[in-house]
């Protein structure tokens, strides 16, 4: 795709595992992200789902250069972020921001909301003091908070309000890409929808590209344009949200989809359940071949030998399974 806004090319992030106190021995690697290629359009919302520990957060943090990729390119608007260093990297950070999982930990408890937002606004631009108050109140209104609360501290807000503040802080630098790492998993269910809708609405209004990370397929299903399913450091299925949800291709996705409860009790009773047995493998030594084969109901001998690539299933959908055509 030539009009890709964000492009990942074979991105790998491996963490070295070392033993020893002063003289460290390298004893292996955690392949948290292991060869991810992906491209997103401007304003697109991608839902990134997968079990705990599959490398979603690491992928998000790698895209934002909070951890350097071991290999591969992260190209945002034509610029390879993985090659930026020091000052150049710091300055380009205005283009991409992160929203964290825990709104209790992601705001400095010693700073007022005003100070937090002003710091973010001034991180990349010189704004005259006379204009600051205006800018800050605008941000507050954008995320649905009253500017009256500006002089309050994070602990005086509820979890949902804090997440709104964190969103406002991310918006303060006027980014083009936002990665939201499980932004609602720490919140009450009643508040989750509000925050999800706020993010979707902001993305649409501001043409923001949004990567929404979640371990729960049902959370991302409504707002995502496309969904990427991750398993042990690799993307195993990628496609339009409704397609992935209605007719999953990869056996792992099928299991994830079948775990989402259906609100209609009649259909809930009749539907087919695919139960996932066992734990996900350790990313330090994943099984050979397809990493999913030990837990897969459709696995054949070949699956333990060949590493499946993420291949086109049709024009819009991709899946990493050598038996994709047979089983679907």
């Amino acid at each position: 795709m030539s009009d890709a806004f964000l492009q990942l090319q074979n991105v790998k992030t491996h963490f070295p595992v070392e033993r020893g106190i002063i003289f460290r021995r390298h004893i292996g690697e955690v392949k948290a992200v292991d060869g991810v290629s992906l491209s997103l359009l401007q304003g697109e919302i991608l839902g990134l789902v997968g079990e705990s520990g599959c490398g979603k957060s690491t992928l998000g943090r790698t895209i934002l250069q909070l951890v350097p990729p071991t290999e591969g390119a992260v190209i945002l608007a034509g610029k390879n972020l993985a090659q930026l260093k020091g000052r150049a990297l710091r300055e380009s950070r205005a283009d991409f921001q992160m929203i964290f999982q825990d709104p209790y930990a992601s705001l400095n408890p010693r700073m007022t909301v005003f100070d937090t937002l002003v710091e973010a606004i001034r991180a990349h631009k010189t704004v005259p003091s006379s204009e600051l108050a205006n800018r800050v109140s605008e941000l507050m209104k954008k995320v649905g908070l009253s500017p009256r609360f500006l002089q309050k501290y994070p602990h005086e807000f509820s979890g949902g309000q804090r997440q709104r503040i964190a969103i406002a802080r991310a918006l303060a630098v006027e980014p083009k890409l936002i990665i939201a790492d499980e932004p609602v998993s720490a919140l009450d269910v009643s508040i989750q929808a509000q925050i999800i809708n706020l993010l979707a609405q902001l993305s649409r209004e501001m043409k923001l590209t949004l990567v929404f990370i979640s371990h729960d397929l049902s959370v991302v299903k409504h707002i995502s344009d496309r969904i990427a399913v991750m398993y042990v450091g690799k993307i195993v299925e990628l496609g339009p949200a409704t397609d992935v949800f209605e007719k999953p291709l990869h056996p792992y996705t099928k299991a994830l989809v079948s775990a989402v409860p259906i609100p209609d009790p009649e259909r809930e009773k009749k539907r087919l359940r695919v139960i996932l047995s066992g734990d996900p493998p350790s990313p330090m030594n994943p099984p050979g071949g397809c990493a999913f084969h030990p837990r897969c109901a459709c696995a054949v001998a070949e699956c333990s030998r060949t590493v499946p690539g993420l291949d086109n299933f049709n024009a819009a959908r991709q899946v990493a399974c050598i038996r994709a055509k047979e089983i679907n």
């Binding site: 106190i21 002063i22 460290r24 934002l64 909070l66 990297l89 710091r90 300055e91 380009s92 950070r93 205005a94 921001q97 992160m98 964290f100 999982q101 825990d102 209790y104 930990a105 992601s106 705001l107 400095n108 408890p109 010693r110 700073m111 007022t112 909301v113 710091e119 973010a120 991180a123 990349h124 108050a133 205006n134 109140s137 500017p147 009256r148 609360f149 500006l150 002089q151 309050k152 501290y153 602990h155 005086e156 964190a166 802080r169 630098v173």
Partner: protein, 299 residues
């Protein structure tokens, strides 16, 4: 509709709700803790009295009256006098000045060393951290009283050296505590958010790290002061501390203990003041810990 047009800008005074910083909350909680408040008041009064006395009556503590000798408390000498006829109240207050100065000075030394050392070790991490913390472990295992006594023997009985030596002993705890705090802060998402914003390292340390370790530094400082005072009095008791005619609580207690039978007031008053200030500082420290510990009391 005739509603007045909403002003786009925010008027700072009439609309914004005031917030309460964690410092303010801690202050409210501290004020509710009676023992901590009493301890604090006692320490403040004692500090004022101890530091003002030597100023207004600079020589009175060593003014001898051999004809008078040791007398029990009276109208003229509220705490009595010692064998040389010196006024005990003046000597106790003067001793407080020395003991508190040693306590505070050594604490400042240990806080400065400990905070710098701990921050560097925790922030940089990796191999440097391992080496720095092993060094602390080794220093920890040395018999420090012996070390201080050795210093006193080699360099003479110098009060400056005394608190340098004590400060050098006490920074170890501070370094460990600060390092632990910095390490856990470094993993906090608001630090990562600050990095993601592209803020400079200096700003991250000044605005995000330091204000968040300050609380614990304050708590442990108030607890280091009494332990230093105890160490100083112990050394003075052994005869390695401050020398006559200067007096610290340690030397006064030492002298008092020698004539405990005939003149008990010589032991009672310095002992009372000494214990009361140790208690007060500990109550204050505990109160501060309860008040400042955000995690234990909030959420």
């Amino acid at each position: 509709m005739t509603a007045a047009p909403q002003p786009a800008t925010l008027r700072p005074t009439d609309e914004i709700e005031a917030g309460h910083s964690l410092w303010q909350d801690a202050w409210h909680r501290l004020r509710k803790n009676k023992m901590a408040v009493l301890g604090g008041i006692f320490i403040i009064l004692l500090t004022i009295a101890s530091f003002v006395t030597p100023l207004v009556a600079s020589d009175y503590y060593k003014h001898q009256n051999l004809d008078l000798g040791a007398t029990p408390p009276s109208h003229a000498h509220w705490f009595g006098t010692d064998q040389l006829g010196r006024d005990l109240l003046a000597r106790v207050l003067y001793g407080g000045c020395i003991s508190l100065s040693v306590g505070i000075a050594a604490t400042v030394v240990s806080v400065v060393i400990g905070v710098l050392y701990g921050t560097i070790s925790g922030y940089i991490g990796g191999r440097l951290d391992v080496i720095m913390m092993r060094a602390v472990d080794i220093l920890y295992s040395l018999p420090f009283v012996m070390f201080v006594i050795l210093l006193m023997v080699i360099f003479g009985r110098n009060i400056i050296l005394l608190f340098m030596a004590i400060g050098a002993v006490e920074w170890l705890d501070m370094a460990r505590i600060v390092r632990g705090q910095v390490q856990s802060l470094k993993k906090q998402e608001f630090i990562e958010a600050a990095l993601a914003l592209g803020l400079r390292k200096r700003r991250i340390i000044l605005r995000h790290m330091i204000p968040n370790v300050l609380g614990i530094v304050i708590i442990y400082s108030t607890l280091i002061v009494p332990s230093v005072m105890l160490l100083e009095s112990f050394l003075s008791f052994l005869g390695f501390g401050v020398q006559p005619p200067m007096s610290s609580w340690g030397t006064l207690i030492n002298e008092g203990a020698k004539s405990m039978e005939e003149c008990p007031w010589l032991l009672i008053f310095p002992g009372l003041f000494f214990s009361a200030s140790l208690f007060s500082l500990n109550f204050l420290g505990d109160g501060l810990r309860d008040a400042l510990d955000v995690r234990a009391s909030k959420d």
